[in-house]
């Protein structure tokens, strides 16, 4: 069965949601299951222990970038199916 334009649009939107949330999960929850492992790691960004760096800067920065990336991707999807708002609306 062929999907309508709207269904395809929602399908892709949902796909993007899952990808975005997966990345979000890694940086907000996933890595913090390994607090002590991160602390023991010899990788020290700017000289901070990795665990400390992620919670005061790393994850936060990842969210900022992810949010801009997500907005861009979603705009592309909307454009692809012609659901972009007209400027004069």
């Amino acid at each position: 069965m062929k999907m309508s334009k709207q269904e395809q649009h929602w399908d892709k939107t949902r796909g993007l949601l899952f990808v975005t949330l997966a990345i979000w999960f890694v940086f907000s929850i996933g890595i913090f299951f390994f607090g002590t492992e991160m602390e023991a790691s010899s990788f020290k960004p700017f000289g901070y222990p990795l665990s400390y760096y992620m919670t005061c800067q790393g994850s936060l920065l990842a969210f900022v970038i992810l949010n801009f990336w997500f907005a861009g991707r979603q705009e592309k999807i909307d454009e692809e199916f012609g659901f972009t708002e007209r400027e004069d609306e």
């Binding site: 907000s28 913090f32 607090g35 005061c56």
Partner: protein, 604 residues
Amino acid sequence: MIKGKFIDNLPKVYGIYTGGFIGFIILMAVAEQAGMSAKAIGIAFVVFTVAIYAVIGWLSRTLQMDAYYVAGRQVPTVFNGMATAADWMSGASFVAMAGGIYFKGYGYMALLVGWTGGYILVSTLLAPYLRKFGCYTVPDFVGTRYGGNAARLSAVLVLTVASFTYVTAQINATGTIASVALDIPFKLAVYVGLASILLCSMLGGMRAVTWTQVAQYIVLIIAYLLPVFWISNKMGAGFFPHLMLGDEVARIAELESQFGFVKNSAADLATVPKGLAGITKAHSSVNGTNWGFISLAICMMAGTASLPHVMMRYFTTPSVKSARRSVAWSLLFIFILYSTAPMLATLSKLSLIDPNLTTGIIGKSITDVQALDWYQNWNQANLMFVSDFNGNGTLELNEFFMGGKAVVLATPEIAGLPYVISGLVAAGGMAAAMSTADGLVLAIANALSHDLYYKIIDPKAEAAKRLIVARVLLVLIGFAGATIAAMGIQGILGSVIWAFDFAMSGLFFPLVLGVWWKRANGPGAVAGMLLGLGSGMAYLIWVRNGGSGFWGITQLTFGIVGALVSLVSMVAVSLATAAPDAKTQAMIDELRIPSGKTILGKQH
């Protein structure tokens, strides 16, 4: 000087404003050198900035419904980002967060992760869709999507409980700052704070709040960053603290292992004034369970996506696309402050505890410390305390106590910065607390006036009457909040965290499933909201009264219980009752695409 429409001239208007504010700081610095007293500088900063907000509030007065409720839906993306950042960063973020990190270290930094990560949920799950919906308030969405007064009323209830808990904390914060800066009693200062808050929002509603919040963001971000950069450079810690404090963090860890965390006896602790704490946890090391960290982050993230005063900021953008972009900008503006808070905590802690630094007090004789000017000032303000528990005449790490607010408010003075910086910080804290309080009071008053009064009680009310009701409610809610704040029941940070848990318990799943699950229906949503809020609250009361709790869920993370109950009951009740009708299904389809008209009309 400025021609054409206000909206087209925003960069220019706020550029001039920022320049003017910096000019004012320089003027005050000169006045300080010329002998202006510290007290006069503090008063000048607070009065000057609040007066500007009040002027903006007055200039933005309106009698139009969509200007009052959603700022006419014409706030440009980046400016809405700034307004949201100010709306979001409260007295807790500005005054209390660095303090929390100072005392509790790594474990508390879960708040940073939670309060930023939540914006991914806002932009992916909710904000663009609610913007497309075209509602005035969050209960407006719930009431229309699920149909019926029961759903609308439940949403109003959850919103009021969460936002009211939050707003008392903000009025408390404005009162604290006003009482320190203006040197008036706290109980009076709370009402001075309230009057300033109402000046901004009463005449112009959302439109006035939007433009004052942008102005407040500019003040608060300058006030937060300037001292941190200054202290970092003055200590020789690094020109750009965010990337250069690795050695300082390591030095704190070294000092911690050298001093050790000595436990004080209960009898000794009883002599410490209420609200003050000592350093008892490691600064940068993992100092709690992984689950403790993660559960707090989860609650703050889900709470972010459920708090109506944030969500309604995205109702004011011109389009769905700009709502989505605006979330990203908000997060960037928030990130600038949040990534600075741990740096401030690090610098503040090191300058106090490192015996090699001239500002360090640990290891010095108690009488010397008690003779310090800044110690006496903050001791009088009830924010600092030392006591020679072991009787050796030397100050040990476990003998020094501070209030959480002192980390932000007192650090510039301790580091030896001129008083003009302390005045600036007071103005910044005031801006942060006021902007959030404004957003919250407006969220509650709008929900009560639009959803309860207009949609349920008197649907025939005329526009003028509705706007009068909205303003009367605004004043009443403000007064109620101030009255409770004056009692000082719960600390600032504690109440804020509760607010997130309440919002998450009652609203997270009903909002998200409203967009993402077509089968969700009215009875399910009502069950989700009421049982979620009820069970979260019951768990909180149980734990507060000595209950043992389960799954390591504390009084700070009870939202997990509430949200789970909410999800299960919402799904179960939805499936047990009839599916939403065809009209609702079509509405959800329409909601999911950005193009086309909003679902609710421009005036409704």
